[in-house]
Each structure stands twice: as C-alpha cells, then as structure tokens.
Symmetry: C2
Subunit: 397 residues, 2 copies
C-alpha cells in the first residue's frame, strides 16, 4: 500500500520506536521514578511564566478573527517586524520583517529551505556527529548528504576535510551551534575559516553555497561563551531558529527562517521559501504562537539557562569522576560521552540499570552515546548510583 | 539560486500575489470599508467563545512541560482517544485513538498522506472544479493529477468519465464535500456509485485505491442536508479533517487524518504517515491547539452555521434576482457563479466596482468565478449596490 520511498524510512524507524517502547516497558516494570531517561531533547524546564500570561492576554485582547485566522503565509507582519527588531538590538544587524519567515518549528524551516534550494544530486555538507534528520530532510528534495568529520578532541570542523569535501555540487552546508549532540559552540575563528573556504569555493566554481545555521540552542550557552551571529561572517548565510528549547515550546512548532538581503537573489529565495511553506502543507506557522513569541521575545530566560547549567556541571563532574570520557559542553543540553565498551553493548548495559541513552551511531558518531540532561535535577542526582554501578561494571573489565 | 522545481511555482504564484496586491491597492485607494473582498476562504465568524476559554483553562491547569512539550508524533494519546470517541458518537463508527494522526491542518494531512502513498507516476483523480493546491501536493511526491469533470448542472461527479479515468495507476481519488468551490454536498447515492466503481477497479487490477475525503467544511451544511460519513461506503477511505473552518482556526493549523482499520495494511499506513509527518518537518500538530480542540469537540457551532447560512441565501437571492447564474450551495461558504462575460474580463469588471472574486480557472473551472461569502453580513449587504452596477453593465451588453 505505501510508496517505495517510505519503506526504508519505516524500517529505520523501528530503532527509535524500539527505544521508545523499551522506555515504556521499563517504566511500567519498575515505576516512572526509577527510570533515568536521557534519550529525548524535550525540555524539562517549564516555559517561562510570561508565555502563559502572554497567551491569556492575547486571547483576552485580540479579535479572534485576527488571532486565529489566516495571515500572509510568511507570518503576521507585526510579528516579523518585532522579531527583526529584537535580532537587530541583540546583534547590531539591520534586518526587517521582510527577511523573516515564520515556520512550523525548525524542522519545517529546514525542509522548506532545502526544498527551495536543492536540485537533484546537489550536495549538503554536515559535520559528524550530527542530528541525522538533516539527511532525511535533504533526501526529501533529491539532495545528497556528505559527512565531514570533526576533530575528535574539540569536535570542531576538520577544516582540511571540509575543504576537500567542497565541490561544484555543494549547495548547502549545515552547522548547528551550540551543537546537538556534542554541546560544542563554534567561535569566531571557526566561522571565519568556514566562510573563507566557502567564498573560495564559490569563486572557484562560480556557484552559490548557503551556510545554513540551525540554531535552536542559541541561548543555551554557558560560562558566558559567546555564540557569534553567523550572518556577520558570510554573505550566503541563512538562519533557522526555533523556540522549542529556549522557551520550552517544543510541541508548539514555532520558529523562523532568516534570509538576509546579502544572500544571492535574496527576494527570490524569500518568495520561493514562502511558496514552499504553503505548498508543502504547513501554510503558515501557528497563529497564536507567532503572536506569543513576539510578546515574550525579550523575556529573561537566565533561570532556564542556570537550571541546565547546574545539570551540566553536576553530570559532567560525576561522570568524569567515575572515569567516563565526556566532552565538556559549552552549550545546548547534551553530554557526548565515549562508550567505554562497544557502543551497543554499552547502551544495553545502561538499560539494565534503567538508564536510557542514545547510541552515537544515531548521530553518525559511533563509539559514543548522547546523554540529554534536560531532566529534573533531582532525577539527575538520583541517577548517579546507577552510573556508579555501570562504571564499576565497565571499568572492572 | 533556487531549485528548478521551484521556478514554475514561483511564476504561478504571481497570479495570487497580484490579486492580493490589487486588494491592498484598492483598500488604500478607497478605504477598507469600500472594498468587497470575496476572494479568501478565511472565516469571518470569530472562533466560539469556548475556544478562548479552553485555551485559558489549559494554560492555568496543565503543566506547561506537558502542554507545550513534545508528545508522540501522532499527537497526544488522550486527544486522539477523545476525538475518536467524538466521531463514534456522531457517526456510529468504532474508531480508536490509534486511527487518528493529529496534523498541522488539512494541507499537511494531505501532504503527508500523499507522500506515504504515491510512487512516481501514480495517478490522483480530482473532480473539476477543485482546490488546485491538490495538484501541487500530488506533484510534490511524483503523482500525476487526472481531472474528471462534474455534471455542469449538479456539479456531482460525471460517473461515466470517472469510470473511464480509473486505471491500473490510479492510487488516490480526492473528494471534497461540502465542496470548495461549488458548495455541493455528495449524498449517499453518489458515494455508493463512487465506491462501486472503485471496488470494481481494485478487483480488476488487483490494486488498492484510496478514497481521500477532504472535509474541512463537514459541519457547514445548510437546510439540514446530511453529509454522509464516507468511511461507511468504501473500505479504503481516509478522512482528512481540519478545524480551520468549523472553529474558525485557519491560522492555527490544526486537524487530523483518520485511517480506519478497514484500510489495506492500515497499521503500516498509519506508521508510515506518522514518519512522513516527522520527516517532512511538521513533527507534530501544535500541542496547545491539540488539547484545545479536544476540549471543545462538542461545542455547539450552530451560531456559526446560521451566520453563513444567512449570508448564503442573501447573496444567492440577490445575485439570481440580478440575473446571475449561480449554484445554490448546500454547504461550505462559497458561491459558484457563471461569468456572464469572458471570465477574466468579468473579474476585472468586478474589480472596477471594488468587488474581488477568484476566477474559475484557478479551480480548473473556466467561465466561472468563486465568491467566498465568509464575510460580515453588513459588508455583504453593502456589496449589493456594486453587484447591481456590475449586472447593469454586463446584462445591458
């Protein structure tokens, strides 16, 4: 009954489903409170109070015909202007509402942009380990993914490998900083090096290459680590943003694409992306949520950041004390850890102790696991005994 | 910069944009109150009060981590159960939550289902005139649209032409009842005839053909006209629903797909559609809106229906009195009218009188225009003078 193209996706999906069902099984077996589920990037910190207040205020004060009705497919003009101003205040940029397209979360933003840009056989570069749905998105539109390794200590792009991977078919390079799954942040030097290689390649082949910056974790940066605004480094930069993590609105599907005027044929790219948004079926980003994020754009989320920061240092300190080899994360809410034994066996061992983590192979980073620490601090503290038992089993060997 | 596939879409889009911009120009020229815009299917009746109350109650009583967070990609299990129960009470069916996939509006539902079903070159049958975005959706996944005419008096499917169009490559037949743009409702006899032809074709070729019932206007039926539930007539029926029109939530992008157990390989189709929902970038339907529609599923919307009904008879009576040839709509909120002169010239003439209507060619129904009467009654009354002037110009000729 289903199409041939869906069949491999259905087969791949069984891994994710198996993990999910295993979690359900364990919970029903030993109780919710005894399962330490670090598998999902679903924020545990509630949305700021300002979000709920904004929603109620909007319901009370805005005409429902406007609040819940169709608006231009790119989003409410006032929302786009407000968010452009917000970005300009933060980054000293000079965007207008015209540069923003409100999207059904970042995943939709990435899809409609890749649809807009990719011809059959065009290449999309990603840096391993990475969020592998990028691959599914690129393949939706005939794109081919080319994986480029990162340095295995810093997890920053291997520039030599990057330069070697660039060619006449390169159309998009996706970066994700702060990074899922490593927590690494790309500093100015890295962005400058990427930009230089891209410009050189564009000139060499007479092509345009888009640097697509996927930034749902932008605000989740610790120790004051700066997260430079990528549009300042390279003309063909397009930013994909989501409020899923910063405002804990992952289920609401609200974000935007930012397409600066410096992008080649900017207005055409903007127009085509809006059409892709409509004809791919999203039509527009959810109306009430557009208005909501515009209302709370300036809300202080330092409490959210501190919460994850405490989790981060607590977990990192304990795991390294126990002998595990982890990347100290500068941002996001993931810990990337070397599997001390064979990856799949390690994931199984963790499960035996009711600890759920994602195998690194799911991020094209074999030999590692990802630990999502967007869980309650109490649950995190409660997991340490399990980690101690896991450590004693693997390091005794 | 943009892909070859997007270029024709960009060119087509200029018609819609031109119409939109013309509306803006006219409004700024003669004032909002003097432009009679019948071009958009954006409900003018506000969402029922229960919607705003449900939203506020949910914000006040549900943990924001649940209310705004990720849920299974198919939607909140409790929401799906509640809506299945609702359908069962209304239609005497026996669906469970497992049969429902919450979607980012009907447009997303149609897209992810077509993606799930279509192989390159598969045919999708539509009945003219029709909502032409169906064509864009089908082509997104390699499908080919085959247009089948309707009877030019009743606008019900021409069964002879339908039977002639069915073949071994037919994969999906889309029906839309109550219909956009004609307002026609398919009764039991029509559905039985469609089902018989489909079953015969399935048996002849050993194939499966999905009858995709796109039903955003289900509740907008007048004079007590029944809108039979399509799953009762044909085993491979899949329903695509949206709350855009019934609850005036067009901007919120909330609806569902219903895939009954009677569908061939039902569980596989359900699983694959959920994956298509995720990998196409929607991920899940907006969380708060899922909970909201479940809360208000039983809300009485007879006030909304009466409002459109009054508009319907008022406009129909006046336009036929003036000599125009219109289909008396049984449902939805559109009037399908024969253009008394050449279609494009007529649209231009209307515009001269500050009346905006959509040319029938935009629905593959040339020689007609669509008048969306989801506007305020006062505005509708105000438009009659303009219609009189238009009538005197065309019928004097």
């Amino acid at each position: 009954m289903i199409s041939d193209k869906m069949k491999p996706l259905l087969n791949n999906n069984s891994t994710i489903r198996a993990m999910f069902e295993e979690g359900m099984r364990l919970r029903s077996l030993v109780g919710e409170e005894n399962v330490f589920d670090f598998s999902l990037g679903n924020p545990n910190v509630p949305a700021p109070k300002a979000v709920g207040e904004a929603i109620k205020k909007l319901v009370d004060t805005v005409d429902p015909v406007t609040l819940h009705g169709y608006m231009p497919n790119a989003g409410f003009p006032d929302v786009r202007e407000k968010l452009a101003d917000h970005l300009n205040r933060l980054h000293g940029t000079s965007f207008t509402g015209r540069n923003l397209i409100m999207t059904v979360g970042a995943a939709s933003g990435l899809n409609i942009l890749l649809r807009t840009l990719l011809n059959e056989g065009d290449e999309v570069i990603v840096f391993t380990p990475y969020f592998m749905e990028y691959g599914a998105y690129a393949r939706n539109y005939g794109g081919t993914v080319r994986e480029v390794p990162t340095d295995q200590k810093t997890f920053l792009p291997d520039m030599e490998a990057f330069r070697a991977a660039l060619n006449a078919r390169t159309k998009v390079v996706i970066i994700n900083t702060p990074n899922n799954p490593t927590g690494v942040i790309y500093g100015e030097e890295v962005l400058k090096a990427l930009a230089a290689a891209l410009k050189e390649t564009e000139e060499k082949y007479g092509t345009d290459i888009v640097l697509l910056s996927d930034e749902p974790y932008r605000e989740l940066a610790y120790d004051g680590t700066p997260v430079p605004y990528v549009t300042k480094f390279y003309h063909n930069t397009i930013v994909c943003y989501s409020y899923s993590k910063s405002l804990s609105l992952a289920g609401e599907r609200i974000g935007y694409l930012l397409i600066p005027d410096e992008v080649t044929d900017a207005q055409t790219v903007i127009d085509a992306t809006i059409i892709a948004n409509r004809t791919s079926g999203m039509v527009n980003a959810p109306a009430l949520m557009q208005k909501t994020v515009a209302e709370v754009a300036d809300t202080d989320i330092s409490g959210t950041v501190s919460y994850y920061d405490r989790n981060r240092t607590y977990l990192y300190d304990h795991l390294t004390r126990l002998g595990f080899d982890c990347v100290y994360p500068a941002g996001a809410f993931y810990l990337w850890m070397k599997a001390p034994i064979e990856e799949k066996a390690f994931v199984e061992l963790c499960k035996k102790h009711y600890v759920l983590v994602v195998p690194g192979s799911s991020f094209s980073g074999p030999g590692c696991v990802r630990i999502a620490y967007c869980v309650s601090y109490e649950r995190l503290c409660g997991s340490i005994r399990a980690w101690e038992e896991i450590a004693s089993e693997v390091f005794a060997k």
